[in-house]
């Protein structure tokens, strides 16, 4: 199921909970969409961690580094990654400088930091620990809370779709486990940090988050790297399960810096009955980033807001597949992404709404807006909708914008110089989503990062604007 642009077997897609397969008319969508939803296809299924590692290792050993090809569009290839030259276990030297210089200082519920393959910091407020909140490495969680963790680990994440996914499942060390028990409400964010402090590292990040019934909390993941020369890898797997009535705001701040960092990750958020999730990844840098992000509503009354911003620059390659999956209804969805690209970067966003049979009274909408700033950058937005229920509404829309010269002149007449006016337009473009983070410190961090990227691309933007 990895790369099938010809889609020979996509007459039916597997669904969770033994529901009938989704019927798809041959040829209808296969040209446009390359990827498939996980749709509940987890590897867990009662197997132990050891068994899963073993199965994954077999896949790892028998497969090549992945290439995703889409005729007429682009390819995402990880074959320039020299995987054999990377090391999974290197000595960690405490919390890397990039972590302290990037993460906002403000009240937090807890923090766990993994550098390369080792967890170097775990911090949880005592009051929360007393109320049953668990924040620790996933390794430790398997030792101390084996039953709880085993029931959920890889429940809906596969381990065998490609070599790096298998590598993650086979080799992960450290990892993060967060459990917010039933009814516990936490205002401040839990921070989960994956940091790469030098070249030559293969980091296999593994996160499992459980939100008990009626819990209410925030999770923020930070993916950061020092600016180094040479290759590194982050192959991540993230799963978050929200039980009945739980509410969670998930944010992800990703900027792998100027090193040649490859990131191939799968992230799944599963929303239970009457639960709600607001999820906003900010993908702000990485040499080659490929993300499968899936938000699945699996319980009646589940609702979600799936947001995202991206900014690719220089030679970066970003490939995002975002899934808005509804397994049952009534349910709600709202997907809204915004992105831009400068330099010679390439960004591709494929958004899929999938409504399974029986997910009646689901209402969802997907919109993707992109802004062109650079003559050689490219953004592809590919929305698709797979609907297998008849009492639903699902639609998608989007825009492709360029800098509005009239708006620039308008702001110049108020005293802003041209770069400042451009910044106002681009920040204004992202602002509706950034302000949804509802976290002033994180919002500021994202705004600053966007500002830096604009400043770096100033000449490029100028050339483009005056050439039109």
């Amino acid at each position: 199921m990895v790369s099938e642009p010809d889609g020979a077997d996509n007459g039916s897609l597997p669904t969770a909970n033994g529901a009938a397969p989704v019927q798809v008319k041959a040829g209808r969508h296969r040209e446009a969409s390359l990827y498939h939803a996980l749709a509940g296809a987890g590897a867990g299924d009662g197997r132990t961690l050891g068994e899963l590692r073993e199965a994954a290792l077999k896949v790892y050993e028998s497969s090549e580094l992945p290439v995703w090809r889409r005729s007429g569009f682009w390819s995402t290839s990880l074959q320039s990654l020299d995987l054999d030259a990377l090391q999974t276990s290197v000595d960690a030297h405490g919390v890397p400088e990039i972590v302290t210089s990037t993460l906002p200082e403000r009240p937090r519920a807890g923090r766990i930091v993994q550098s390369a393959g080792t967890v170097v910091q775990v911090e949880l407020s005592e009051a929360l620990a007393e109320r049953g909140v668990i924040l620790c490495s996933l390794e430790q969680a398997f030792e101390q809370h084996g039953e709880l963790v085993g029931a959920w680990y890889s429940k809906r994440l596969p381990i065998d779709r490609h070599k790096l996914e298998a590598a993650n499942a086979a080799f992960w060390t450290g990892g993060a486990f967060l459990h917010v028990p039933e009814g516990v409400v936490v205002e401040d964010p839990f921070e989960i940090v994956y940091a790469i402090d030098r070249a030559g590292v293969a980091q296999y990040g593994r996160t499992l988050v459980l939100g008990g019934p009626m819990s209410d909390f925030r999770v923020q993941e930070y993916d950061v790297a020092e600016d180094f020369e040479g290759q590194a890898l982050h192959a991540g797997a993230f799963e978050l399960y929200l039980q009945d009535g739980a509410r969670c705001r998930v944010a992800q701040f990703q900027d792998w810096g100027s090193g040649e960092v490859f990131d191939s990750s799968t992230r799944l958020v599963a929303v239970g009955r009457d639960a709600y999730c607001h999820w906003l990844p900010a993908l702000l840098g990485g040499h080659l980033v490929r993300q499968h992000l899936e938000l699945a509503v699996m319980g009646k009354g589940g609702d979600m807001a799936f947001r995202g911003v991206f900014f690719a620059e220089e030679q970066e390659h970003l490939d995002v597949f975002a899934v808005d999956l509804h397994e049952t209804g009534p349910s709600g969805g709202d997907v809204h992404w915004r992105g831009t690209a400068t330099g010679e970067s390439r960004a591709s966003f494929e958004g899929l709404i999938q409504i399974d049979p029986g997910a009646q009274q689901t209402h969802t909408y997907l919109q993707i807006h992109s802004m062109m700033l650079s003559p050689k950058a490219r953004i592809d937005a590919i929305p698709s909708v797979l609907v297998s229920a008849d009492d639903v509404s699902a639609s998608h829309g989007g825009t492709v914008g360029e800098l509005d010269e009239t708006a620039i002149f308008y702001m110049q007449t108020r005293g802003l110089d041209r770069p400042a006016a451009v910044r106002v337009i681009v920040e204004g473009f992202f602002e509706p989503l950034i302000s949804e983070l509802q976290d002033e410190a994180l919002e500021q961090l994202v705004r600053e990062r966007i500002e830096q990227k604009l400043a770096a691309a100033r000449e490029d933007i100028e050339t483009y604007a005056t050439s039109r």
Binding site: D404, E405, T406, A407, F409, Y410, M411, Q412, T413, R414, G415, L416, D417, R418, A420, V424, I425, E427, G428, F429, F430, E431, P432
Partner: protein, 262 residues
């Protein structure tokens, strides 16, 4: 020497000459009205004074407070003390009126404005323009009605306190209440801050609320008639056609093929 000296200004857009030798002097504290029929070049003059990149000055000069701004960047003209209230203000999504104002004010200063000072100024301007306080937290011109957009223009003018403001058909499309608020705002900025203004209009309506001391009639890219407020009254009685006939063959028949946007 006048604060703003426009000398023999010739301007073209693409291959078409729109202004064909405009001379105009404006000082702080003076209210001027520039009137003219559609296509006479009024908006071209407004945009050229602020340095719109689509308009090319082929001859003549714009000197402001002794500094030649003919080739200056728009933001440098703004910093020098010029302001343009747009005929069609542009919406800036994602940026609140207050934040935008703060940025614009800070662009003119070395040190950022103190929060308290900014609030005081903003409060004063809000009262002047008779707008709701919530107005300033809305995104600039985004979803604003025509009247709200024009109020926002005058609000910016009040906050940025220019020496000379050009108001490009600020009166068009306004109902009488909005027109009165806008006009009174201009008048008060003139009275309180010594604002100099060039009110560009096709109609006489706004001039019932703001009294210009100097009136200029622009036709076919040239100022053909100048006088005091009595010229407005005359225009009201006689219309542009009568004046065109009177000022003679030099302009008659040479009506540019432009529309009101020129």
């Amino acid at each position: 020497m006048a604060d703003l000296e426009i000398k023999d200004l010739h301007v073209r857009i693409e291959e078409r000459e729109i202004l064909r030798g405009v001379d105009l002097d404006i000082n702080r504290g003076e209210i001027h009205a520039l009137m003219g029929p559609n296509g006479s070049g009024k908006s071209t003059l407004a945009n050229t004074l602020l340095g719109h990149p689509s308009y090319e000055v082929t001859q003549g000069s714009i000197v402001f407070k002794g500094e030649d701004l003919t080739e200056a960047e728009p933001h440098d003209r703004a910093k020098a003390g010029l302001f343009l209230a747009f005929q069609y203000p542009v919406s800036i999504p994602g940026v609140s009126v207050a934040n935008f104002l703060r940025m614009a004010i800070n662009a003119k200063r070395d040190e950022p404005i103190q929060v308290k000072e900014f609030r005081t100024q903003l409060q004063h301007a809000i009262e002047l323009l008779d707008v709701d306080k919530a107005f300033t937290s809305r995104h600039l011109n985004d979803g604003f009605s025509g009247g709200e957009k024009k109020r926002a223009e005058i609000l910016q003018m009040a906050m940025l306190a220019p020496d000379v403001a050009i108001l490009d058909e600020t009166d068009s499309g306004l109902d009488i209440d909005a027109l009165r608020t806008v006009a009174e705002g201009v008048q008060r900025l003139h009275d309180e801050q010594g604002l100099g203004a060039l009110i560009i209009t096709h109609y006489q309506r706004i001039l019932h609320y703001v009294k210009p001391e100097f009136v200029h009639i622009l036709m076919d890219g040239k100022i053909v008639l100048e006088g005091g407020v009595e010229l407005v009254e005359r225009l009201e009685r006689e219309g542009y056609d009568q004046i065109r006939q009177e000022v003679g063959a030099g302009v008659a028949g040479a009506v540019a093929a432009g529309d009101s946007g020129v």
